[in-house]
């Protein structure tokens, strides 16, 4: 989230799209309703299905799964055609005025630089024109036909009401109603926000859906303000923290980039990863990248990381350039027999991964599997699953009992980036211990084996700093959290020339802010964004429970710790005009008082940008300092474009000749079947969770109070379709896709209605993904038998939200 949960109360219009907030984030929805009670906020729900969220919103607008970019693209067109954008903000705080390079073009669904054989773009032409000093050229009149603003306008002029309505199945009246209400927030004293979740990320176009919304928010001046932002309501208790610490193939802790093979030295790597801006008004905060990266290597390898050995850079694994190693890639390779061992910690991919039949076959090819969890699940028990003969499965399986959340001390980060400390309430039962302790034990044993026997490339293992136990040899969580925060590794004096201060720190003291990290090996920092979670003297800010709220906006600056540097709303300098005066004095997030900022922790101490000498642009993490309407970082183009899902009801994209996202990776083994616009699978299908279960249900199905309320797998079917098929409410049906089928209970409802798409009736159905064969025994199996192995072109989030099925009486 750019903002945080309580901040939802500060909004005037809340668009919930790609989220079922009332069901999946019920306490977030409390703050959404608070906005309605306190500000008379309008609540709009756009979703294929009428849900518990729809029931409490002002109105619900159904749209066909997988057409969000079309819907939002229509909104951009509406905003630009009707001059609803916030001119001051767009001009000063976005790259609207930048001039796009002359070789860039868009034609019939493709941007310049496409290579159809590789399904990839060369981004050479996706560039901005620069002046002699290397600063982007600007046209502050926004009239140059090659300026970003005009290019954006032209691109989305194709998203007419007729076209969008035909693609999405939303009536033109409903489109106009949403567009008009939402774009009314493009003024100084109104805030509009958007809440999304897996309903946006689970598409082959997921990242671009979110970008389309970010463009809308920039056009309306809704970024960086109280009650605004683009807010991901994330789905796991510490998915924010686990993402921050990057247990992900592409990044190292703190979103540092995972090295690739062509960057064979630290120098080359740092040069590639450290952006340069020649514009003195761009803070270009990532110019500090080397400080963060070297401090990370120091935390990982301790004294063994030296300037001479490149701080151990060569010990890190390198990915192949352009390759991805996501969950889907992992199961592809496992199915091919090339992955031999797997750690599965607190996860149940035999239920949660796409194309379950393939995933379960792949697991049988493992030599060993280590599971760590508080309950058993379908992954750990795959060898005795339906249709599997244990006598044919060679895999050694370890199931290690873990402590539950309240049985261990540590921190957890919510979506609003609040890092909250939790305490241990009781011992775990039996031999269960925290996952942290399991991790320490296993790695310690591996280190000892390498020390004793040697082996292939032992250096990173032997040199890994791994002293996170207490005197009794147990996991010492504070040692780890302090290592994450970072330490001074020698006596250090920090001078601030502007403030004329000089502060001395002793070797071993905690680093109080990431601004004090160094690239010379004199500081360590396990994750730079967490530097400051402790004070230099050791106060653990994550434990704080202060309830003061000086701004009245619900920032609670003394409750827990929010990264970065306790900033509660990021990009907050954009809430003020170029002189630092709040656009909306009624919701004063930040104000420049002539010598300092007052309010939230500002995005940097510099004066506002009207001060041409010292002032900085507000989007300090962007190379150019401004919000990117033109975003060349994306895989499939600098502007979002509607493409159909991998499997959809249409044989032709109504907007271009490109049916699906041209940049998605196609997985091609024998189990990856696809059936698009195929009469055998005529219904659009989507999958989701419910309030009573969580994710694969691997925790909640074992809890009988929850199971009692949602005991088994069901498919929600609109009453019109059910009538056509002769399906009665509560009877058993089979849902089938090209990849597999599941049996479940039909829930016949008025909450799914047929769409009219390109003049034809299209029905949609949906199933929860919370069930598996292990428990309860008669509760149904994984919905992901139906889903295809394909993912977003940038993130590889699988396309769980739009594919094609048939429904039959069982």
């Amino acid at each position: 989230m750019t903002n945080h949960y309580i901040d939802l109360k500060n909004s005037d219009v809340i668009l919930i799209m790609g989220s079922n907030a009332a069901e999946h984030h019920p306490i977030a929805f409390k703050w959404i309703l608070r906005a309605k009670e306190q500000n008379g906020a309008r609540l709009i729900h756009v979703d294929p299905r009428y849900t518990r969220t729809s029931a409490r919103c002002d109105y619900h607008v159904p749209l066909r799964s997988g057409t969000d970019i079309a819907f939002l693209g229509g909104m951009i067109n509406y905003i630009l055609e009707n001059n609803k954008y916030f001119k001051d903000y767009v001009l000063n705080y976005t790259n609207a005025s930048f001039i796009v390079g002359k070789d860039f073009y868009f034609k019939d669904g493709l941007f310049s630089g496409y290579n159809p054989a590789k399904r990839k773009y060369s981004k050479d032409t996706w560039v901005l024109e620069k002046d002699g000093r290397g600063i982007p050229k600007r046209d502050m009149t926004l009239s140059n036909p090659r300026c970003v603003f005009q290019m954006l306008k032209k691109h989305f002029s194709r998203y007419t009401l007729d076209k969008v309505s035909s693609i999405t199945g939303v009536s033109k009246e409903d489109l106009t109603k949403v567009y008009a209400e939402y774009s009314a927030t493009g003024v100084k004293d109104k805030a509009g926000t958007e809440c999304y979740a897996l309903g946006w990320t689970h598409h082959t176009t997921g990242s671009q859906i979110i970008r389309t919304m970010a463009i809308i928010q920039l056009l309306l001046g809704n970024m960086g303000i109280a009650g605004g932002g683009v807010n991901a309501l994330r789905g796991e208790p510490n998915v924010q923290g686990s993402t921050d610490h990057c247990i992900l193939y592409g990044n190292l802790p703190g979103y540092l980039k995972m090295p690739v093979a062509s960057l064979d030295t630290l120098e080359k790597y740092l040069k590639k990863c450290t952006p340069v801006s020649n514009d003195p008004q761009s803070a270009n905060y990532y110019q500090n990248y080397p400080k963060f990266f070297v401090s990370f290597l120091k935390s990982m390898f301790g004294d063994k990381a030296t300037k001479e050995n490149g701080f151990g850079y060569s010990w890190l694994p390198k990915m192949d350039d352009g390759a991805a190693y996501s969950l889907m890639h992992l199961f592809e390779k496992m199915y091919e027999g090339r992955v031999k061992g797997l750690f599965a910690v607190g996860t149940d991919p035999a239920v949660s991964s796409p194309n379950t039949a393939k995933v379960r076959k792949a697991l049988e090819k493992l030599d060993w599997l280590v599971g760590e969890n508080i309950f058993d699940n379908e992954t750990y028990c795959f060898w005795k699953g339906p249709g599997v003969d244990p006598k044919q499965v060679k895999t050694e399986v370890f199931l290690l009992p873990a402590s539950a959340s309240m049985e261990k001390e540590g921190s957890q980060s919510n979506s609003g980036r609040w890092v909250q400390w939790k305490y241990k309430a009781a011992d775990a039962p039996g031999d269960a211990i925290p996952v942290g302790e399991i991790t320490i034990k296993i790695m310690q044993a591996v280190k000892e084996l390498y020390a004793k026997e040697g082996g292939v490339q032992p250096a990173p293992i032997l040199n890994l700093k791994w002293d996170y136990t207490d005197a009794k040899g147990r996991f010492d969580v504070l040692k780890v959290s302090k290592q994450i925060n970072g330490h001074f590794l020698k006596d250090t004096v920090i001078e601030d020339k502007d403030k004329k201060t000089r502060t001395e720190f002793k070797k071993g003291q905690l680093v109080p802010t990431f601004g004090m990290l160094h690239a010379d090996g004199s500081t360590s920092g396990g994750n730079w964004i967490m530097a400051g979670s402790f004070s230099a003297t050791g106060e653990n800010k994550m434990t704080r429970r202060g309830k003061d709220d000086p701004t009245g906006l619900g920032l609670y600056p003394n409750w827990s710790y929010a990264w970065p540097v306790n900033r509660r709303i990021i990009y907050n300098r954009a809430s003020c005009d170029i002189h630092g005066k709040p656009y909306n004095p009624k919701r004063k997030l930040l104000e420049w008082t002539g010598d300092k900022w007052v309010g939230d922790v500002p995005d940097g101490p510099w004066p506002p940008m009207a001060d041409r000498a010292k002032g900085k642009y507000p989007f300090i993490m962007k190379q150019d300092g401004l919000g990117a309407l033109f975003g060349p970082g994306m895989t499939e183009g600098p502007f979002p474009e509607h493409y159909e899902p991998l499997e959809g009801p249409l044989a032709k994209n109504p907007l271009s000749s490109q049916l699906i996202n041209p940049a998605v990776e196609i997985f091609k083994n024998d189990m990856n079947k696809v059936a698009s616009a195929d009469e055998k699978f005529p219904y659009v299908c989507t999958t989701y969770s419910c309030t009573e279960h969580w994710c694969s249900g691997a925790l909640t199905r074992w809890q009988l109070w929850l199971l009692e309320m949602q005991p088994e797998l069901y498919v929600e079917i609109g009453d019109k379709l059910a009538q056509e098929k002769g399906i009665r409410n509560g009877e058993k049906v089979k849902v089938q896709s090209a990849r597999g089928e599941v049996e479940c209970v039909a829930m016949v409802t008025k909450r799914f209605r047929p769409f009219t798409i390109e003049g034809k009736t299209v029905h949609q159905v949906g199933l929860p993904f919370n069930y598996g064969w292990l428990f309860p025994k008669d509760g149904g199996d994984s919905t992901n038998f139906l889903t295809p192995t394909v993912g977003d072109a940038n993130t590889f989030c699988p396309e769980y939200k739009a594919f094609m099925v048939n429904v039959k009486k069982a």
Partner: protein, 195 residues
């Protein structure tokens, strides 16, 4: 009279390992009790109150665990009325948080091992399991380690071991797993952010 969410189940000024408000020394064996006999409200007064954070969605609601000081067992969990986000309230999953404690009979309590071709779990101790896992990790890594890719570039990676999870453990545990995986040279590293 005004009944609010606040009351004795708050943590203001009493944070840390938990502070008992009184000690009545009641023996609290978990029993099936019904409303009138049950005087849980009184039991709570004598309990240790420990704050925690919900382990489901990412809103980060606060909860208070009431722990019997005699047995060290948790006997009640409800919302933290002082918490600025949830203000004591909880959804269905949060309200059922107690069922994640050892009161849930399905919790894993022992190390389980399934041998090749076997059709059952067998109980093992930690030392045996950890040593066996370390052996398998080392052998798999040594055998499958890739020093150079097809272009001859130095890559130092282990493609034969994957690491999945986890978004439902604490930050400190995440960080340890993240660096452990890199030290081993793993590249197939992923967690629930994607699914």
């Amino acid at each position: 009279m005004e009944i609010t969410r606040r009351g004795f189940l708050t943590m203001s000024g009493a944070i840390g390992s938990g502070i008992a408000l009184s000690s009545l020394g009641i023996n609290l064996k978990p029993t099936r009790a019904y409303a009138d006999e049950l005087n849980k409200a009184n039991k709570i007064k004598s309990a240790k109150q420990v704050s925690t954070v919900c382990c489901y969605c990412s809103v980060g609601c606060g909860l208070i665990c009431s722990v019997d000081k005699m047995t060290g067992k948790i006997f009640n969990i409800e919302g933290d009325a002082d918490h600025p986000i949830n203000e004591g309230s909880l959804c269905a999953k949060g309200a059922g948080f107690f069922d994640l404690t050892e009161a849930n009979k399905y919790r894993l309590k022992k190390v389980q091992y399934r041998a090749p071709m076997s059709d059952k779990w067998e109980e093992k101790d930690w030392d045996w399991a950890v040593n066996r896992i370390a052996r398998l990790v080392k052998d798999t890594r040594d055998k499958g380690f890739v020093m150079q890719n097809s272009k001859g570039e130095l890559v130092n990676r282990c493609e034969s071991i994957g690491h999945l999870g986890s978004s439902n453990v604490d930050n400190e545990e995440c960080w340890l797993m993240s660096v452990k995986a890199r030290a081993l040279g793993l590249v197939y590293i992923d967690h629930q952010a994607r699914v």
